[in-house]
Amino acid sequence: MASIKNSLGFANLSGFARIVGCAALVAATLPLTVLAQAPRVGGPAPTFTATDSRGQTEALSQFKGKYVVLEWHNNGCPYTIKHYESGNMQGLQKQWTAKGVVWFTVISSAPGQQGYVTAIQENDYMARMHASPTAALLDPTGKLGHLYDAKTTPQMIVIDPSGKIVYEGAIDNRATPDQSDIKGADNYLNDALSAAMAGKPVAVDHTRPYGCSVKYAD
């Protein structure tokens, strides 16, 4: 800003004009800058803080330097059930958290909607299902879901250590609720994490997520 003073016109306009002008400019474009933040693959992952089922606050910023997986979850959705009843999702959670990946199960179902759980119910569910994400984030307001534009359960997002989204979409290429389709499916999450960790570009970096719609509040 100091350099402005060097220009003939600006030196004299500096007082009220600049303040008024800047305030007006900022006010005028506030909606624009908010719109420009829609997350997308290759772009920065929006930062968030959320409360997990153990009552702890989890902030994305704490995990800079690590891979972070976001898994949208709804325990009543047949497509989610497919991956939990088969043990597929729990296996992925074990496999990748063992390699240092931070895995957040995100529950964006609004109260009264399918899949909404209290912290106790979720802890109970995870114990019964032998699920082992790093944490289960409770998002009853849908804030986190909307922030990432999550559409379905299960929907997967992979964030790399620099904070960029490197994968967004379906868990695999078989958009069915049948457990028998897990075997032989191409698991996009595995592909994305393996490639990214090997320093290779993620070949399939976004897919159409399949499953039930996320049960946001209307």
Partner: protein
């Protein structure tokens, strides 16, 4: 539904899966499953050898439940059918009638409610065995309301295969059902019709010519992940069809070669289309009411903001001053003044927009702010304000002596004064094309005359609103201080911002047209000062007024004539590079490492062909927000580093003086003014547009979002 939820409540997830996924076993051609009835419809149970028959897969749904189209949208899955058929009999894939848009909170699905029939064709070969035949279908689907339940059924249809000319007895109700849905299948676009699409920064502009004006349309993309499904589709009827503005999926990295899908028009007409890329005429008259209302509101807000702009604020000051003077007048008179002021603003906007429309009609490629590209206008404006400033500072009293000169009109008491203060507010507001006004005006200029007028009217009303409110609301008027000696002080103080504006205008003249014209302008100022001296030293004398008027005439004549002689080179010869050098000298920052090159369409193409991202700064020296952006964002070291790191080619398009090529480029982006910041990304046809107000963060974020592999620097950072 209630039962299902209670089951979910028990969290016996496994049994839910079993219950939901349990095939509805049936040896018949129909089955009842949760929330729907599914049935194979064969109007004719006698199939002929060597012939094809029409049949369908029918779903009857409970209210509120849906099954899905082939592209289900944001969630959902279409039904599938797998056949087990006797030798010689084949079934073609099911066909999908045109779907509905099914909003679900923030999501948008495409599907059907109530009932739907998916027609298909059964082909019987000549070699097929005569006699009874069982056609077995395994059907699966997803049915959703708020919750989704997958379902399966095995359906059997027993038919008779007969000779080629076997007599048939068709079920008329089934035939009617089949016929009804067969009619709702999309048909290929007639050969006379034409569909093209043009990528825009935010999506696609789809133009479909059907030969008649179309006022209703919904486009359903056949491919997933091409469009942002929930976004409203803005329709613009044209004389021979329509234009539909579609928003693309945020993750779409390359524009599709074809835009495939189904378009549904009024009267249930459905067409299958594969639009090819092309140029969609932008001059089509879109009258989407919501968009107009939005622009109207935006323009009104823009008008309000204009009151705060440095080039209008002094006028508002002026007007506030006259309001103080009329503080003793009766209320209705105050109100009348407010309305007359509003009328002054409205009339000037209408005159301006009328002129703009006339120019546009004449094919002149002019944009907003063009006034400030005219040295005559600049000189007159600077002179007027300087003269006004002298009067305010106390050199002379305009009201006593001069009644007809432009500037004095505004200072006049009475309704004429109010009217011309409104006019003056408009004239000086022009250069402060406040950030988002750019969009509103860009929109307005591409609209039919009526819409343009409406938008400009909103702009005018916004500009007039604060003063009008002051005159209408007596309570606020009472807050005004009583007249007194402070008025003189206030009036003199107001001359300061007026002179500031004069200095700014002089700076613009110097920037755009060089020192000789600046000198002429300063001489004009001297002549004005002398005229003011005559008026002040010998007030209200006819001879002194005459002398002053003569001086003024000389000044006006000089303003018109001087540019012809004194502009160092004709406008087209002064390259933007010269302007850049001048500007950098003026600002004294000559940003290190910044290699801004003059913009040309060819330069953009050249760098793009080298695979380099290109950043274009559309700017002008009279554009205040452009200067602010350049100084607080573009010339900041971290931004310069980011530009260098991403190997971005930097181009500056200087619109200080009217340049048809730049005007054309701005129009192509839907803008009619500056600033515009365009980032051309390799592999994308249209530039990404940055906001009109920049911060270093906005620019570096935009550079961070460049595709992987576009630059060596971004690859390195993504591999960390």
């Amino acid at each position: 539904m209630r039962r299902l939820l209670s089951i979910f409540g028990l969290s016996v997830a496994g049994s839910v899966l079993l219950a939901a996924g349990l095939p509805a076993w049936a040896a018949s051609n129909s089955a009842d499953a949760p929330h729907l009835h599914v049935q194979l419809i064969f109007p004719n149970s006698h199939l002929s050898q060597g012939a094809s028959s029409q049949a369908g897969l029918y779903f009857k749904l409970e209210p509120g439940w849906h099954v899905y189209w082939k592209n289900a949208g944001d969630s959902g899955e279409p039904p599938h059918i797998k056949w087990t058929l006797p030798a010689g009999i084949t079934a073609e894939p099911i066909q999908f009638p045109a779907p509905k848009r099914l909003p679900l909170g923030p999501l948008m699905d495409f599907g059907y409610d109530n009932e739907v029939l998916f027609p298909f064709t059964i082909d019987v070969a000549n070699a097929a065995r005569l006699g009874p035949a069982a056609l077995q279908a395994k059907v699966d689907w997803l049915v959703c309301r708020e919750v989704c339940i997958p379902g399966k059924a095995e359906l059997d249809e027993n038919v008779q295969i007969g000779g080629t000319a076997s007599a048939v007895s068709a079920s008329s109700s089934d035939a009617a059902l089949l016929q009804r849905f067969a009619n709702s299948l999309p048909v290929p676009l007639p050969s006379s019709a034409k569909a093209i699409f043009q990528p825009t920064p935010t999506g696609f502009r789809l133009s479909v010519d059907t030969g008649q004006r179309e006022t209703q349309a919904a486009f359903f993309p056949a491919d997933e992940d091409v469009l942002d499904n929930p976004s409203p589709q803005t329709i613009t009827p044209t004389a021979k069809g329509l234009i539909l503005d579609l928003k693309k999926d945020a993750n779409l990295s390359a524009n599709p070669a074809k835009l495939n899908g189904v378009i549904e028009l009024s009267g249930g007409r459905n067409y299958e289309l594969a639009a090819l890329p092309g140029t969609v005429a932008a001059a089509a008259p879109p009258i989407a009411l919501s968009a107009v209302a939005q622009s109207f509101g935006l323009a009104f807000l823009g008008g309000l903001l204009l009151n705060l702009m440095p080039c209008v604020f002094p006028v508002l000051f002026l007007k506030g001053l006259s309001l103080v003077n009329s503080g003793n007048e009766e209320r209705h008179k105050l109100r009348a003044h407010g309305f007359v002021y509003t009328a002054g603003i409205l009339v000037s906007f209408w005159v301006l927009v009328g002129a703009l429309l006339a120019l546009r009609a004449a094919g002149a490629s002019l944009g907003w702010g063009f006034q400030f590209q005219s040295p005559v206008f600049l000189a007159l404006m600077a002179g007027l304000l300087f003269f006004l400033g002298l009067s305010l500072a106390g050199q002379f009293e305009i009201g006593l002596t001069l009644t007809s000169a432009g500037g004095s009109l505004a200072a006049k008491q009475g309704y004429t004064g109010s009217f011309f203060t409104g006019v003056l507010a408009v004239v000086v507001a022009t250069p402060c094309s406040a950030p988002f006004m750019g969009a509103a005006i860009g929109y307005a200029l591409a609209q039919p005359a009526a819409v343009t007028f409406a938008v400009f009217t909103a702009l005018a009303l916004g500009l007039a609103a604060p003063y009008l409110a002051l005159t209408l609301q007596p309570a606020w008027t009472r807050l005004l201080p009583r007249p007194g000696a402070w008025m003189e002080i206030l009036r003199q103080a107001i001359s300061v911002p007026i002179f500031v504006t004069v200095i700014w205008l002089a700076w613009v003249v110097a920037q755009a047209y060089g020192a000789p014209l600046l000198a002429a302008l300063l001489v004009n100022f001297l002549l004005l000062a002398i005229a003011g001296w005559f008026l002040g030293r010998w007030p209200a004398r006819r001879w002194s007024t005459g002398v002053a008027a003569a001086f003024l005439l000389v000044v006006i004549a000089a303003a018109f004539v001087a540019p012809n002689y004194l502009v160092a080179s004709p406008p087209s010869n002064l390259s933007s590079e010269d302007a850049r050098v001048m500007e950098q000298m003026a600002s004294g920052i000559a940003a290190k490492g910044a290699t801004w090159q003059p913009w040309s369409a060819d330069a953009v193409t050249k760098y793009q062909s080298q695979g380099r991202p290109v950043f274009v700064d559309f700017t002008a020296s009279w554009c205040l927000s452009c200067q602010v952006n350049e100084r607080i964002a573009l010339s900041q070291p971290q931004v310069q580093q980011a530009f260098a790191g991403a190997n971005v080619a930097l181009l500056k398009a200087d619109w200080t003086r009217e340049d048809p090529a730049i005007t054309e480029a701005l129009t192509a982006m839907g803008r009619s003014g500056v600033p515009v910041y365009a980032l051309y990304v390799p592999g994308e046809n249209n530039p990404r547009l940055l906001p009109q107000v920049l911060t270093p963060g906005i620019v570096t974020d935009a550079l961070d979002k460049l595709p992987h592999g576009a630059t060596s620097a971004s690859v390195a950072s993504s591999n960390r």
